[in-house]
């Protein structure tokens, strides 16, 4: 088997494990999807919160920043005592990992909205919730979407590590390939993961363009 070149190895493994690849990709997508959903909801929420409560800005951005500096594998390890082994831990860790770009971009997106526009909105009698929903968020959307895109692409890569804590996904093949010394097997995990990242990147680029208000294009 070891006489085969890497491409032949890959083809062989792919043929052998075709259904497993589909299965793992589906798990991988689920890991990314659920962790991103939580990260988007909480990230945007926290981003909005720190524009309203300036005292929290340093704490929240700092906290999310520290999260980002913890090596991904270590973060996964830390989560095991809390969520046990498996999918939940992986989602929790991936979520924490995706938080920073979303919080930061939501915060800057809102802060970057022209002061005069906000003053006019208040001056016309909008409540602060109306200012947020009708002015600040629509104008911050391109920035927020850029944050989500960054987070999602990083997330796809980091999610391969979930295999180390038994959460499955495309990382399984990479893990297996390393332990058994089969390079083709590593590719079998890496190529779909990379493709997934590219697809997400394209998807979010379009979504960003589509959600940008007409007058800003």
């Amino acid at each position: 088997m070891n006489n085969l070149n890497i491409w032949e190895q890959f083809m062989q493994q792919a043929e052998m494990r075709w259904s497993e690849v589909i299965e793992a990709t589906s798990v991988h997508i689920q890991l990314v999807f659920f962790s991103m959903i939580i990260a988007i909801v909480l990230g945007i929420g926290l981003g909005i919160l720190i524009t309203r409560v300036p005292k929290l800005t340093t704490v929240v951005l700092g906290g999310a920043g520290i999260m980002q500096t913890i090596p991904s594998l270590a973060l996964l390890g830390f989560m095991i005592p809390i969520f046990g082994i498996g999918v939940n831990t992986a989602i929790a860790a991936l979520f924490l990992y995706s938080l920073l770009p979303i919080i930061r971009n939501t915060y800057t997106g809102i802060k970057d909205v022209n002061k005069a526009t906000v003053e006019a909105a208040k001056g016309m009698g909008m409540t602060s919730l109306q200012v947020l929903l009708k002015v600040e968020l629509p104008l911050a959307i391109p920035m927020i979407m850029a944050g989500v895109r960054t987070a999602a692409v990083i997330n796809v890569g980091t999610a391969t590590l979930a295999a180390f804590i038994g959460a499955g996904g495309l990382g399984d093949f990479i893990f297996l390939g390393i332990t058994r010394g089969i390079d083709g097997l590593i590719l079998l995990g890496a190529i779909p993961a990379a493709l997934l990242a590219i697809v997400l990147e394209i998807f979010f680029t379009y979504l960003e363009r589509w959600t940008t208000p007409e007058g800003l294009k």
Partner: protein, 378 residues
């Protein structure tokens, strides 16, 4: 009516932006707040719609203390125009104008009709501009939309914070003229902040001059120019202001009170002698009983006809052009080209002559201000 009673704005660090200010803005008045930067003029204006909360005193609108009103409700009933315009970039022009009516829950048809009406009012074709976005409009056009937006729900009060300050001079002039004609029709109560004295004089029914958070003087433009309450006001309005605004300059300041009067009984020879001695070119004839103005005699005509006439009455003219004491220098300037021999008598209520305006007195008065101005510049 807007009323300020002992209103102050003191920041937490102790800085007094506005210091115990008292004034009233009657319904339908155009009040201009003016002063150097940091004088508290913008702060004073923004306290009216609670964009900046005041810390002491009472501000009331039609007798209602504004702190007792919901701030959003209050603001929806006060038009607000700012220098940076602040149109929503993600809204079309139509939607921008419709913001306050929508907040107030007007029905769609009514809003649509109102938006159209407003666009026409500010000289923007609704067909062309209604569906555009703010960035597709010039600065002047954007501020027209800004004004339309502030007027959308037909508020009785309009607050304008240096609305034309960022526009080029020609556009600014056009928008000022437009605002004047709008105000003639709409009769809003307007509080307008500027640091441009010419703008203040052009627009204001009254002008309030502020410095270091204090209100120094609040008066009509004429009063401010003629009776500045302090040397600061005088300096602030500038000495050259009158030349640029002759309509604000009383006629008495461009006339001479050195008037030689005579009675009708005078002989032509004596009249000529009198004029030569006094070095004057016209003689004012008054009634012998009550000194009322009758007419005037010009030296040029007298010299020509002195030998052919018996009574000065024969060459006396009763001028159609006279001015009252309350007239302005502008009236005199406008009248001058139509006046024969260039003499305009200025009469008081009792029809007595208080002075005359000649081309010479006009020129002297206006040029003296030029020379004063030159002196300052040097």
């Amino acid at each position: 009516m807007i009323k300020f009673e002992q209103v102050s704005k003191v920041y937490t660090d102790g800085f007094k932006a506005v210091d115990s200010v008292n004034f009233e803005v009657p319904e339908g008045e155009f009040l201009v707040l003016i002063g150097p930067s940091g004088s508290g003029k913008s702060t004073t204006m923004k306290m009216i719609n609670r964009m900046i909360p005041h810390t002491n005193g009472t501000i009331s609108i039609d007798g209602n203390d504004i702190t007792k009103l919901n701030p959003s409700e209050l603001r929806r009933n006060i038009g607000y125009v700012i220098q940076q315009i602040g149109l929503f970039p993600h809204y079309t022009i139509e939607k921008n104008i419709a913001i306050v009516p929508e907040l107030k829950g007007w029905d769609k048809e009514k809003i649509k009709a109102r938006v159209k009406e407003l666009l026409i009012m500010v000289d923007l074709d609704p067909e062309i501009y209604g569906s555009r976005y703010p960035k597709e409009l010039s600065g002047g056009q954007q501020q027209r939309v800004g004004v339309a937006r502030a007027l959308a729900s037909n508020p009785r009060i309009l607050l304008m914070d240096e609305p034309f300050g960022a526009l080029d001079p020609i556009t600014r002039d056009q928008l000022q003229d437009q605002l004047i004609s709008l105000q003639r029709k709409l009769k809003k109560t307007i509080v307008f902040v500027t640091h441009d004295m010419d703008e203040a004089l052009k627009l204001g029914d009254r002008i309030a001059i502020m410095k270091d958070g204090n209100l120094l003087q609040i008066d009509t433009p004429e009063k401010i120019l003629q009776e500045p309450a302090s040397s600061f006001v005088e300096e602030f309005i500038g000495k050259d202001r009158i030349i640029q605004n002759p309509e604000l300059m009383p006629v008495v300041s461009v006339m001479t009170t050195k008037v030689v009067t005579a009675l009708l009984a005078l002989t032509p020879e004596k009249a000529l002698l009198m004029m030569r001695q006094q070095k004057i070119t016209s003689l004012i004839i008054v009634d012998e009983n009550d000194e009322k103005f009758i007419g005037l005699i010009s030296a040029y005509e007298l010299i020509k006809k002195v030998n052919s006439i018996q009574l000065i009455e024969e060459i006396m003219r009763v001028p159609e052009h006279t001015l009252t004491e309350t007239a302005t220098a502008k009236d005199a300037i406008m009248m001058m080209p139509n006046v024969k021999y260039g003499v305009i008598p200025v009469l008081n209520e009792a029809k007595k002559v208080v002075g005359i305006v000649t081309r010479g007195t006009l020129l002297t008065a206006l040029s003296s201000q030029w020379t004063e101005l030159e002196g300052i510049n040097e």
